[in-house]
């Protein structure tokens, strides 16, 4: 058990209007690990990820109860600045979401808003982020073309690069490979494994195989309840403690 978890979720409940979507969740996520949260659709996984950077507040009637601590500080407290939080906890969505501007501008947008104006510094940030996201070789000669003209896989890696350029501490990935071909998926997974040296990564994988391939630890959620959590080996190799986890992993439902 990690005594100093990066993120600590305590007795967390979440409601949309009167409908409860997350029930009494307790989870610790350590620094520099890839933590996979998986389960069938409608298990509250997307909501959980969005609760971690408070993006979920954009939905009206959303209500959180309980605590989420980032480095021991409650992210739902009054004096937490949401903008700062979202810079520390970056997010990549299931659909690639490049902004309708050039590749370069997509990446330097965030850094520029945080006050970096120096052109060569921005160039360095863009190159580093693109390298980390394994996109540099694809686009280094055409950084000024529209981001929308890239392929789906490239767009998604661009979105990852864009988050990395903000130097976040935690990266949330919500089914980042759901619309991608196997080669793009493999590239993204490779870069994630490299990236965990610098960041804490929480991923909702688009299938169980992905969770098994890249996660250090994993949690299985069902209808808003945490059913089981453990190391990659506990969950995917050994016999599961809970039969429902086993049923899901072996494909008996879901």
């Amino acid at each position: 058990m990690d005594r100093n978890p990066k993120i600590s979720i305590r007795d967390f409940n979440f409601f949309f209007d009167k409908k409860q979507v997350i029930f009494d969740l307790n989870l610790d996520i350590s620094k520099n690990e890839i933590f996979a949260v998986f389960g069938p659709a409608g298990s509250g996984i997307t909501t959980l990820l969005r609760a971690l950077n408070r993006l979920v507040e954009m939905t009206s009637d959303a209500k959180a109860q309980g605590e989420i601590l980032l480095d021991g500080k409650s992210i739902y407290s009054e004096n937490m600045n949401v903008t700062d939080l979202r810079r520390k906890v970056g997010m990549v969505f299931d659909v690639p979401t490049p902004l309708p501007i050039s590749i370069f501008e997509n990446i330097v947008y965030g850094p520029r808003l945080s006050g970096i104006r120096n052109k060569s510094e921005l160039n360095d940030i863009a190159e580093k982020a693109l390298r980390e996201a394994a996109l540099w070789d694809d686009v280094k000669d055409r950084l000024n073309i529209a981001a929308m003209s890239l392929s789906g896989g490239q767009q998604q890696r661009l979105c990852i690069a864009r988050v990395l350029a903000l130097k976040p501490e935690v990266v949330l990935l919500d089914r980042p490979c759901s619309g991608l071909d196997p080669i793009s998926t493999a590239k993204i997974e490779e870069s994630l494994i490299q990236l965990k040296k610098q960041f804490t990564i929480i991923i909702a994988p688009h299938n169980i195989q992905q969770a098994a391939r890249i996660s250090d630890r994993a949690a299985f959620m069902l209808l808003g309840h945490l059913i089981e959590e453990g190391t990659n080996e506990d969950i995917f190799v050994k016999a599961n403690k809970d039969s429902r986890t086993n049923d899901y992993i072996t494909g008996r439902f879901g």
Partner: protein, 268 residues
């Protein structure tokens, strides 16, 4: 099919009619003299509409300066910030604004705006400024509804992506959503331009209608539409043809504006 064609044929008939009626005087006076002539004196056979072109342009630009900032802010408020209940109240209210007869706008302008300008800013009150304010209000429904729709139709991901990058809501609107909705907003402005330029009744009542190049926004002017509206009742012969020719000019300008708006929206 026949009914559908009838609406197109109405357009064709109107076009042909005003061209047949108006073209002879343009060839007689000469295109250049007609458009750039400074004197409008139908009884002496002088047909120069340049002051009215300037008047139309001034009033239209003024209307845009008044209406566009208010309209876009309102669209942003409705699409981004307003709670559903407020939105449900505002939308029909704004649509209602479009349903007020233009003569009522003119009357209201004459009773309130014109005296206000005369007392506080000087001049006769009947002025470019008065017409700009009234037209600015009249084009609000067009600008608000089209801008709002184009903001609402943006993929949700633009906003979420921007927020997830640590932008504030304002930054997301300013740097991501407005640029992305640009084509719709520009189309809204161009349609507003067309509406402002084509409006007649309200403008006749408050713009002063004197045929002269204005020196300031407090001066009265005459626009292309009001020229036709005022004089058609008693015009005959060449005078009448010249009014139709004014119509041709107006028709072409508004056609260009509408075509531009359609081109911009389609390019998206």
């Amino acid at each position: 099919m026949a009914l559908a064609l009838s609406s197109i044929s109405a357009l064709a008939l109107i076009t042909i009619f005003i061209i047949i009626q108006g073209a002879p005087i343009i060839t007689e006076v000469g295109m250049f003299n007609f458009i750039f002539g400074m004197t409008w004196a139908p009884s002496q056979g002088e047909f120069g509409i340049f002051p009215m072109i300037v008047g139309s342009a001034a009033v239209t630009v003024g209307a845009v300066l008044v209406g566009v900032p208010i309209g876009i802010c309102c669209a942003i408020f409705l699409s981004e910030f307003a709670p559903v209940s407020v939105r449900n109240f505002f939308r029909p209210a704004i649509q209602l604004l479009a349903g007020i007869p233009s003569v009522v706008y003119g009357f209201w302008g004459l009773l309130f705006i014109v005296p206000f300008i005369r007392e506080h800013l000087g001049g006769p009150g009947l002025s470019i400024l008065a017409a700009s304010i009234i037209l600015g209000i009249m084009i609000l429904p067009t600008i608000i509804s089209i801008s709002e729709v184009s903001l609402l139709s943006l993929p949700r991901q633009y906003k979420e992506g921007a927020l997830a990058l640590g932008m504030t809501q304002w930054q997301a609107i300013r740097y991501v959503q407005l640029p992305a909705a640009k084509s719709g907003i520009v189309a809204a402005i161009v349609l507003g331009l067309g509406r402002a330029m084509g409006e007649t009744m309200a403008v006749i009542m408050i713009v002063g209608n004197s045929v002269a190049l204005p020196q300031s926004i407090l001066d009265p002017v005459r626009t292309l539409t009001t020229n036709i509206g005022i004089e058609m009742g008693y015009a005959a012969g060449e005078h009448r043809q010249a009014l139709f020719a004014t119509g041709i000019v107006l028709f072409i300008v508004i056609m260009i504006l509408n075509a531009t708006a359609q081109y911009i929206t389609r390019r998206k």
